[in-house]
């Protein structure tokens, strides 16, 4: 008996140009390919993780035009003309350096899978909401799930950076 002949629909791809981490990537993608997959597989930017593929876990969170956005919900094609940044863009960013240090000090990661998304969201919190209290921090982090830490260390790390930033503002004002 011979194996059934499988007929696959033809693959249709389009050429696009994406601006990611201040670099231009010329890519050929299927329209259905989500940004997260294109970033990881074609751009080699693997800091962006994929968890749920339906927008709730936050592992795929990147920065688009300076604001956090999911990369699992939309075609990569839709990100043309936008300024996309993955965690890799923040290697030399001072705020991100503070966050990395705080995450280490406060034991805010274990396996690290949620961490890139957490850091993107955390950076948005500390820059956009300098007055955030614990309740607000937890509310803002609700879109990033962590299975390892129980969140307390992550909350403490964000609080730590908020305190540091507030203190440095006072110093500069004086």
């Amino acid at each position: 008996m011979s194996a059934p002949k499988l007929e696959f629909p033809p693959v249709v791809e389009v050429g696009i140009a994406l601006e990611v981490n201040d670099r231009r990537y010329e890519l050929t993608v299927e329209p259905r390919a989500i940004l997260a997959d294109v970033l990881r597989e074609q751009c080699g930017l693997t800091a962006t993780h994929i968890g749920c593929e339906h927008g709730v876990c936050g592992a795929c969170t990147v920065m688009v035009d300076g604001a956090p956005q999911r990369s699992c919900l939309q075609s990569a094609v839709r990100f043309q003309g936008k300024h996309v940044e993955t965690l890799e863009a923040y290697a030399d960013d001072l705020v991100m350096a503070q966050l990395r240090q705080a995450f280490t000090a406060e034991h805010a990661l274990q396996c690290g899978y949620c961490t890139p998304g957490m850091l993107i969201t955390a950076r948005d919190i500390v820059t956009r909401l300098p007055q955030a209290d614990e309740e607000r921090i937890r509310e803002e982090l609700a879109g990033n799930l962590c299975r390892c830490t129980g969140y307390n260390g992550i909350v403490r790390a964000v609080q730590r950076v908020l305190r540091e930033r507030a203190a440095s503002k006072v110093t500069h004002a004086a």
Partner: protein
């Protein structure tokens, strides 16, 4: 899971979008922020042949206002309302509602128009626009028509949009600064879709008294009459308001809805 293969068609005008939707028939779906549709695509709950990308349509963006209304472009994002970048027609209610939608990353991209047309019974604008007696402006590419928000959604994930029609603007009547409101929804987890939703608006300046029950199985239910706030204030009054709404809900959801209504009543009393 990965989506089925589809064509992504970016259009630059409402006319072109309407044309493309008509041409695509059942296989074509408009995509605004893609925050709801994207999840359905990845779960293969939606399997379109063509997505009409609305990003290129300038007229759908921005918000304008005159003395009586704020008119929001359908592509207004939840974050723009949350941050006050789009004016709040309802004395702070809209910004509060916006802040409670999903998560910030979703709010940065998800849109008011997209949410209304997606018509998830548990979505926030789906309940808020009927509460605020908004009007939805849709076009078939040639003629616009106005649909009252309380009538727009007909069933879960179904609206009055005809094939080939596009929602372009949402016109919300401006509430006076004396307006009091409450918006309460029950989520076990921050950012998840509500299991029960109740909200009220009372504008003493023109006597508007409105209540909405949302996160039901189908469209939200609006109650609007003089004396509503008084009914809300008593347990008996609330039970009477709930009775027709909870008839089809299981006891847990009915209890959640009753509790949301009780909290709304407390809020309205406190702000008096």
């Amino acid at each position: 899971m990965k989506s089925v293969a589809y064509e992504l068609d970016r259009v630059d005008s409402a006319q072109a979008a309407a044309r493309a939707l008509r041409a695509g028939g059942w296989g074509a779906k408009a995509t605004a922020g893609g925050q709801s549709l994207g999840a359905m695509l990845n779960l293969r709950l939606a399997q379109p042949e063509t997505l009409i990308d609305l990003d290129g349509i300038a007229e759908l963006r921005g918000a304008t206002q005159d003395e009586k209304f704020v008119t929001y472009g359908a592509m207004t994002t939840h974050a723009q309302v949350e941050d006050g970048l789009a004016p709040d027609a309802a004395n702070g209610l809209m910004a509060k509602v916006a802040r409670g939608i999903a998560y910030r990353a979703v709010r940065n991209r998800g849109t008011m128009g997209g949410s209304l047309c997606h018509a998830d019974p548990a979505a926030d604008w789906v309940s808020t626009m009927p509460l605020l007696d908004a009007t939805l402006i849709v076009t078939n590419g040639e003629t616009p028509r106005a649909i009252a928000a309380p009538q727009f959604m007909t069933a879960a994930f179904e609206t009055q949009l005809l094939e080939g029609e596009l929602l372009t603007h949402i016109r919300v009547p401006k509430r006076s600064p004396a307006t009091r409101w409450s918006y309460r929804k029950f989520c076990r987890k921050t950012g998840e879709f509500a299991h029960a939703l109740a909200a009220a608006v009372y504008d003493p300046q023109d006597g508007t008294e409105r209540l909405v029950f949302g996160a039901l199985d189908g469209a939200p239910q609006v109650v609007a009459r003089a004396g509503l706030m008084k009914e809300l204030a008593s347990e008996a009054g609330r039970a009477a308001l709930l009775a027709p709404v909870i008839a089809t809900l299981d006891s847990t959801r009915a209890a959640m809805l009753a509790e949301m209504l009780r909290l709304v009543a407390l809020d309205m009393e406190k702000s008096a």
